[in-house]
Symmetry: C2
Subunit: 151 residues, 2 copies
Amino acid sequence: MAEAGPGGLLDIGEVARESGLAPSALRFYEKKGLIAAAARNGLRRAYDPGVLHRLGLITCARSAGFSIAEVAALLSAGPGDEGLRERMAAKAEEVDEAIGRLTRLRDSLRHAAGCGHDPLVECPEFKRAVGRVPDPDAEPCTSAAGAGPVP
Amino acid sequence: MAEAGPGGLLDIGEVARESGLAPSALRFYEKKGLIAAAARNGLRRAYDPGVLHRLGLITCARSAGFSIAEVAALLSAGPGDEGLRERMAAKAEEVDEAIGRLTRLRDSLRHAAGCGHDPLVECPEFKRAVGRVPDPDAEPCTSAAGAGPVP
DNA sequence: AGTTGACTTGAACCGCGCTTCAAGTCGCAG
DNA sequence: CTGCGACTTGAAGCGCGGTTCAAGTCAACT
């Protein structure tokens, strides 16, 4: 194989192909401290294959609405970092709320795709599922202000 | 009450306060076709209270990773728009996949917040939950390329 | 020795989703 | 009539998350 360098390390092109990310994105992530090359072959980065798992985690968290900075914080967590662990637990709760919102949105979409309402937004079920009909208090979905994963 | 105009319509300031969105964001949404003022009081926008529900839906979809353009497409759906309905159903499936990813991420976060691994990213459970260990095929989480809600 | 071709760098650029700013338009209180 | 404050406009600016570009380095093949 011409793919693995001296110590079974991967070239940036390999990592890009395997991870589905652009090399520019990998360099960007490195600049932001999300990943690091295990070594250098001259100028060239040489990655430990484990970086692929790390990138999987990064992509997953990103798709969950985490910012680059938040992901960096997660990745740098050690066992002694109690504050960070607490923040992770808090993040888990945020994600849980996001799951609830997504679930209602998904159900609304599924219903809307099959029901026959004209503006479609006026479908009663759609309204009910997404919350906030004429109820001044109780923010079931719109509560995103300050709690949602979208900054 | 000094809040409701001639026909029970709301001023942009009212809508901003009730929805938690900035007036600038509301004007931005109007420019993008997401909402519309029911009337004008001179220059001033006068909104139907129903816009609050619409904004709830918008915020919900946005927090689910939908782009402004995608939300606009959803909101303009009518009963005769079969193609759009199909796309809504497809979107529902995407959201469903996102829910799966988020669920695994949440479980990983919860576990990681309590387990005692040093780089934390190396925790075997964390790895397992997030997928993509050394499996070239089968993209359980990283499949975001082309299917995920994050553009 | 020379020519690929994949990598390197920093800096410039891009689209998105707003926010901010400057300048102007109202209605109403004093 | 003269503020005041809440609105209006378009244009410019900002942070994020990268991509693109120009110029350079390096290993390997011919």
